[in-house]
């Protein structure tokens, strides 16, 4: 094993040693992890409020929703696709679950129906991409506006409130000091990790993303794999829609507005490649944590809100720049 290769990546023309590729992936996560750690330590020193338990709980809650959609986005990005519909699917799901709860359906039924409609949405995207041969960017961009429109139609543009107390309580509660919302992140990370790393489906996802026609030649069920990716992403977006409805005590079509971009940003900060075949479970969660921490930290330090936005942009560029620098062959 060539240790230099761990740092520089495979030499041009050489095939990456799979063991080294794995170490490099973990190192990359480690890099983002250290960045999170540095930001957290700096903020704890700069603001007496940052390290308090209630604030850490806040940051975890704030990052949870973005983490889950970022995991979904990552699965799609691994197949060299993109899901731009996520924000609207979050909004739509928040409306569906709120309407059903409002009509008196039990919480379990409302959640199941909402998740099923999410799967349906993802299946429609995948159908357009595989059978209709539409570029993922276009198909899910169309989804972005379509599902927002459906949510507006369903609600008449009104916020849907009066949700049951049990439903709302979930998003505020915590078990052994960890907010329920973050347990949901863990609940999504574990199956995603297993799928990506220990199943044939996972191999297929990476294969489709690295070389689609090659995958087809190697008898990878490309269509089925792409269906899985988009349905999984929409399902996770629907789960976040349910969680955000619980968190705000409201279903509104505008819930999740522009979150597809937060999902892309979190995923990319976490080392996912926009060109497919590179990405894991920890990266997007760390990426979402960085974005939430920046917002929270800037608020605690009473930064001007405009600078907060600029700072976010600069950090996204900086993280991805250094990540790529590390990956460049010398």
């Amino acid at each position: 094993m060539n240790f230099l290769e761990i740092i520089t990546g495979p030499k041009e023309g050489n095939v990456a040693d799979p063991r080294i590729a794995k170490i490099r992936k973990n190192l990359n996560n480690l890099g983002v992890f250290f960045l999170v750690a540095i930001i957290w330590i700096t903020l704890s020193i700069a603001s007496p409020h940052f390290g308090t338990q209630s604030n850490i709980t806040n940051v975890m809650r704030q990052s949870s929703l973005w983490s889950i959609i970022a995991i979904g986005q990552t699965v799609v990005l691994i197949t060299a696709g993109i899901d731009l519909s996520i924000g609207s699917v979050v909004g739509l799901a928040s409306c569906i679950v709120a309407i059903m709860l409002n009509k008196g359906y039990p919480i379990s039924v409302s959640i199941i129906v909402t998740c099923l409609s999410g799967l349906g949405v993802g299946a429609i995207h995948a159908f357009g991409i595989t059978k209709g041969k539409l570029p993922p960017f276009i198909m899910t961009l169309a989804g972005l506006t379509t599902w927002f429109g459906v949510a507006l139609l369903l609600t008449g543009a009104m916020p849907i409130g009066n949700l049951p107390a049990d439903f709302k309580a979930f998003s505020r509660g915590s078990v052994i000091g960890i907010p329920n919302l973050f347990w949901c992140v863990i609940g999504v990370m574990i199956p995603t990790y297993i799928i990506l790393n220990h199943t044939r489906l996972g191999n297929h996802l990476y294969a489709v993303g690295s070389n689609r026609s090659g995958a087809e030649l190697n008898a990878v069920p490309v269509t089925r794999t792409i269906f899985f990716a988009y349905m999984y992403s929409s399902l996770l977006a629907s789960i976040v829609g349910i969680l955000v409805a619980a968190r705000l005590s409201l279903g509104i079509a505008s819930n999740g507005f522009t979150w597809e971009l937060q999902a892309v940003a979190s995923s990319v900060i976490g080392g996912t490649s926009l060109f497919g075949a590179v990405g894991g479970v920890f990266g997007p969660v760390l990426g979402a944590t960085i974005l939430s921490t920046i917002n929270n930290g800037a608020n605690l330090l009473n930064f001007h809100p405009y600078w907060q936005r600029i700072l976010t942009g600069v950090i996204i560029v900086a993280v991805v720049f250094f990540d790529q620098l590390k990956n460049r062959t010398k």
């Binding site: 543009a157 968190r247 522009t258 917002n295 608020n299 605690l300 009473n302 809100p305």
Partner: protein, 318 residues
Amino acid sequence: MKFKFLLIITALIMGSFSAKAEKIPVIVKDSTSPFWQIVLDGGCTAGVELGIEVPLLGPTSEADIAGQINVLEDAVNSGADAIVIAATSFEGLGGPIDEAAKTVPVIVIDSIADSKNHSTFMTTNNVEGGRMGCQYLVDIIAEKHGAPEGEVAIVNYGAGPSSLRDRIQGCNEIFDAYPDIKLVATKIGDFTTTRQLNDTLDLITTFPNLRGIFDDALFGGLGTGQALSETGKAGEILAVTFDSSDELINMINEGTLQGLIIQDPWGMGNMGVKSALDAVNGKSLPAFTDTGATLVTKANINDAAIDAKLNPSLDCKP
């Protein structure tokens, strides 16, 4: 040949119809928000009353300034006789409104643009609304703590709209008038409830001695209210917000929020269309009409006059 003939006949019939009934579109800032639905219902009702056509238009986000300019231009090009519009941006809509006003009378409602040739501006005096809200906030802080003193914060829904700017200006005037009221932060959101929720949570964390919050818009108020009830700070930190919805009314009744400054959106849409028709008929209009703002608290929320404003019937069918 026959087909062509039919087309011409259809065109003639349609032409004669549109020549009779005036067409006065109402263009709101965000066709997806309950506040603007009420404005549109007022406009729609005026259309039914006056027997004129009132297309109900607007972009789907207050942040979509370019989208609203397109809607405005399309409305002028599609043969409107006058236009009623609420500007998403003071600067952005100034030029386009002046351009439209060359062809048809333009009635601006709710939020003014940097335009000179509009026929009239009908709105809540938002500076006054901001003063009203923050005066009440200072009053209840004084009542609770014995004196008008302590830390307060403003949570703004988003940068840009002149109505929000005016509310904050009015609010700041009041805060400035009390030397012991200290404004510790003004948060600027991105027109989403989640952002307002997170900003308010962070305010509560950063300023443990915070006594009051003024929020300047409906969806913002929902986020602020949620943050207060979530952290158990409701009633401890006093909060006043703008506009109303069922959920905000619940929050007033539960004591999560102490006051709502409500406007008369239905009247704005309704009077907007009526004034537009007056302008088409050559009547002169005053430069400014105040459509009024009202303070709603737990004490007066069940009054008949307030209830009618809080629960306008949204059943207009054009």
